[in-house]
């Protein structure tokens, strides 16, 4: 489904990685591991197409993502370390607008269901009044509405979440793998996924 070949990335004159290749099949989980500053986020941004690699290519179903453009982006859900949650809007409004912008048509019931999954259905407050963990939940709720055969790229999804939030996110990832989607993520926490052993990319520190 997703393949990276011979990737190389240089940031600020420092080479983060070179000739990095990976292959991610439908229903597979890929964890990127490494110390802070070792290039995990850069790799995820390259996979999203936000960053251009210095060498190599990412391909989706055998075609380069730069050529696919919008077709690829329709299948991609990215949760970066920035939440992309507007402080002035409540979680429901944030979710509605962000799913529309991502090209997902969700009914009011589906939106409510996504909010309820993350325990945000009663948080009808502007997000600036919510805690960091609740904002993270509001950002992750988008995943619940994504395309079935999609790629999730998650940068530290569990940061700021409590135990219950981690469990909800973990079961969402398991469901995504079960329905044939792929997930690429980074984390510093020990999280085990039922029935799935993640493939690993290790960055030397």
């Amino acid at each position: 489904m997703l393949r990276g070949t011979g990737l190389e990335c240089t940031r600020g004159g420092r080479r983060l990685f070179s000739s990095l290749s990976f292959d991610l099949a439908a229903g597979a989980l890929l964890q990127v591991r490494g110390a802070n500053g070792s290039g995990k986020t850069s790799l995820l941004r390259i996979v999203c197409g936000l960053l251009t690699p210095d060498a190599g290519e990412i391909s989706w179903d055998g075609r380069g993502i730069s050529g696919l453009g919008e077709e690829y982006r329709a299948r991609l859900a990215y949760v970066g370390h920035l939440n992309a949650v507007k402080d002035e809007l409540d979680p429901g409004e944030n979710l509605r607008y962000s799913s529309q912008i991502a090209g997902v048509s969700a009914t009011a019931a589906e939106l409510d269901e996504a909010l309820r999954t993350f325990g945000l259905d009663r948080a009808r407050l502007p997000c600036k009044l919510l805690s960091q963990g609740q904002k993270r939940r509001a950002a992750l709720a988008r995943l619940k509405l994504s395309h079935p055969r999609s790629l999730w790229v998650l940068d530290e999804p569990f940061s700021a979440l409590d135990a219950e939030g981690v469990a909800v996110t973990r079961s969402l990832i398991e469901a995504q793998l079960a329905r044939g989607g792929a997930v690429m993520f980074t984390t510093h926490q020990d999280v085990a996924f039922a029935g799935h052993t993640p493939q690993r990319i290790e960055f030397p520190s």
Binding site: G80, A84, K86, I101
Partner: protein, 226 residues
Amino acid sequence: MNPGLLSTTCAVASRDVLLALRNKSDVANTLLFFVIVASLFPLSVGPEPALLRTMGPGVLWVAALLASMLGLGRLLAADYADGTLEQIALAPQPLGALITAKIAAHWLTSGLPLVLIAPLLGLQYDLAGEALSILLVSLLLGTPVLSLLGAIGAALTLGLRAANVLVPLLVLPLTVPVLIFGAGAVDAAAAGLSAAPHLSLLAALLALAVFFAPWAAAAAVRIALE
């Protein structure tokens, strides 16, 4: 046209309008600045009607130009800081179209209020009915160009520390033709001449800016996100 484009651009624009309505002070600041600057001139040069009538069009246009620079900071910078801009760039639609939606929302909440209050300020300069209506039309054609050009400046300065100062320095020189034809149209109307040539040129500038500015701003946004 692909079916998702309309709903995505509407979502981008309506979110920005809603955000502006939640932050009413931002909208009010731009408007108050315009009113205050336009009112300072009669106080400083004296109440001579002939003099005020001559300088009125130019002063009102310069004041509108400066006021429209104030809001440019919130056009893209807030979205860049909270990650929304990344999500917009990853939307399955052309980035240029979504930037156009953001510019349209920005104009509705900062440019349009200036246009609507301008005739009232024109009364301070003893502008006649004909000149006032031309002032309204020229601003209606000109302020969207200011928002479009401003978007390029706002996109180029994303992530920079002194962006608020840098944007006017980058954008103001580019707005000179808008200022010349905009103030020229009102001058012509006040002198009893036809304003049509000036307005046609303003409309041409608008057409050019609609075509090129979103594309340039989108390219700058992609660079900023790298």
